[in-house]
Assembly symmetry: C2
Homo-oligomer: 337 residues x 2
């Protein structure tokens, strides 16, 4: 059941059917009606592969996600779902490609097989080989997070630096003089994961500015690591009275460790950072934190990508999101201060 069949039954040529469908040239009302009737009757839909071949575009995006082995976090998941939804709103589909490192079959298939019109790249590193690969392949792409020298690229990011600065100042204002940053995993930091590095820099610099003592620890993306990490903090720096974190996945563990240590939040210990609203509200007590607006990021990324696909020579644009910090109840004055 192809366009030829429709044409035959409607008594017109293939091209007329094509124009009736796309509206790219006028078709008389009578023929259009006849064609639409036949199409409705047979339930015809154009063959996507043939259309892609002829049109030179697939109406499909590639979404490069971290490989399944590194457990996806809750925000990442929300982001994937939002991208799919935003793409669907523009009648586009999403092809998933799990890819971590340098060379990867699935990633290569996507880049080189002309099966997508553009790519959204999650979890990029400060220096990311995949960015080079896409650039050299001339395939439009948008990164979530930005590379070290992002002048000539399209990206969407959360301003970790600014948000962490706010968090530290907030804690300083509350009288805390010894604070810790609970970062993401060692491996990510070592690989050059932007948010982790920018958070560290902002954290230490702001602490210095405010004249307070700063410590940092890395923590794997899972509750168990959160427990261990918090116990480690208590042992090494018992004077610490507040933590800033960008590691959402470890939070349930941190919660448990706080409880085991008999610490009340915020009476004995303050906790804040960059945490998706949903998770912040699930904490006990609800966390004062900056949201990670996965939905907004997804929509923006899709918009940028469509813009770039529409005009590949457009000058690169980006969006740096600075969500407001929502005051909930997890931060308070330093005990005894």
């Amino acid at each position: 059941m192809n366009i030829g069949e429709i044409a035959k039954r409607a008594g017109v040529s293939r091209s007329t059917v094509s124009y009736a469908l796309s509206g790219k040239r006028p078709v008389s009302a009578a023929t259009a009606q006849r064609i639409n009737d036949v199409i409705a009757e047979l339930g015809y839909r154009p063959n996507a592969s043939a259309r892609a071949l002829a049109e030179g575009r697939t109406r499909t995006f590639g979404l490069v996600i971290p490989p399944a082995s590194t457990r996806l976090t809750d925000v990442q998941l929300a982001f994937v779902a939002s991208v799919v939804e935003a793409a669907a709103a523009h009648d586009h589909d999403v092809l998933l490609s799990p890819s971590g490192g340098d060379h990867d079959r699935s990633f290569e298939r996507i880049v080189t097989g002309r099966r997508v019109d553009g790519v959204i790249l999650m979890e990029i590193l400060l220096q990311d080989p995949r960015v080079e690969r896409l650039t050299s392949a001339g395939l439009p792409f948008v990164t979530i997070g930005h590379v070290e020298h992002p002048a000539a690229s399209w990206w969407v990011d959360v301003d970790y630096s600014g948000l962490i600065t706010h968090c530290v100042r907030h804690l300083a204002d509350l009288g805390h003089s010894d604070v810790v940053l609970i970062n993401r995993s060692d491996e990510l930091v070592a690989a050059g994961y932007g948010p982790a590095l920018r958070a560290t820099t902002a954290f230490t610099e702001t602490a210095q500015e405010c004249g307070i003592n700063a410590h940092t620890v890395c923590c794997a993306d899972e509750p168990a690591a959160g427990v261990a990490c918090f116990e480690d903090i208590r042992t090494r720096w018992p004077e610490v009275t507040a933590a800033v974190t960008i590691n959402e996945a470890a939070l349930p563990g941190v919660q448990r460790a706080l409880h085991s240590a008999g610490l009340d939040v915020p009476r004995d210990f303050s906790l804040t950072g960059v945490i998706a609203d949903r998770l912040a509200e699930d904490f006990h007590p609800p966390l004062t934190a900056a949201d990670v607006p996965a939905g907004d990021m997804a929509r923006l990324a899709v918009d940028l990508l469509l813009e770039q696909i529409g005009d590949p020579s457009a000058t690169p644009r980006h969006s740096m999101l600075a969500p407001a910090i929502t005051l909930r109840s997890s931060t308070g004055a330093r005990r005894g201060a």
Copy 2:
């Protein structure tokens, strides 16, 4: 840069290049070498759309996920990631389609545009319009979960019925005489979500068999609902000393509610059910529970789908998984029994 270009530079015809790539007919070692050199030099990869058109298959699966509006749970996420990985292992890509109900543009695009060779359908209902749609379209598909009369279809499922039966017997053996099932959401049950209904049936029937009192409650897939739900249970049936659940997403809330109520697990209250290992181990104390083997299910689903695509007239097969119940430390004798 297409196959013709390669052919020209290698001094052979297009068909020879094609055979050299696919190996479907022998090519002399010398020419093969020459062709491969040119391909390597130019970094050529066949155009996926043209290949799909010629071959009549896309090497792509459709994965129908619940829409982003209904927050995906952790297991669902793990499943998506595993499907992508399993597909990649067979050099296939995965196209995502968020679809809930009856009629849906994205779902229709997938079904009717011949852009996938087969479909994996998540979260199906006992009577699911999408199953009818796929059947009538003649597109191979595998469902996660099975419909009411699954004789003629391909599916993978977890034996909720059997597992819940085991859980109830386990609790009965420990002397519990009043137990509750914490099910998934009202809406899912009302829509006819198989696991929720089968769990309910198995739960009440087994309790009756064992001569103990059974209650059931529905609970939305989120921590806050878990808190409310558990408080509700305590109010309505204070005599209940054990719960069985298939609602993983609500667990953090249940945990918090248990703690607020001053109940120790397993001393005062026993908790078990069907819970992914990862989550069961994050609970405090670790939960005695049956795993939801998302990775295995994904691999099996992909295998079944490939088998079906390879031979569309094959007689339908399915896999009912019955993971072992891992004894951890969340169940104990009824207090005072």
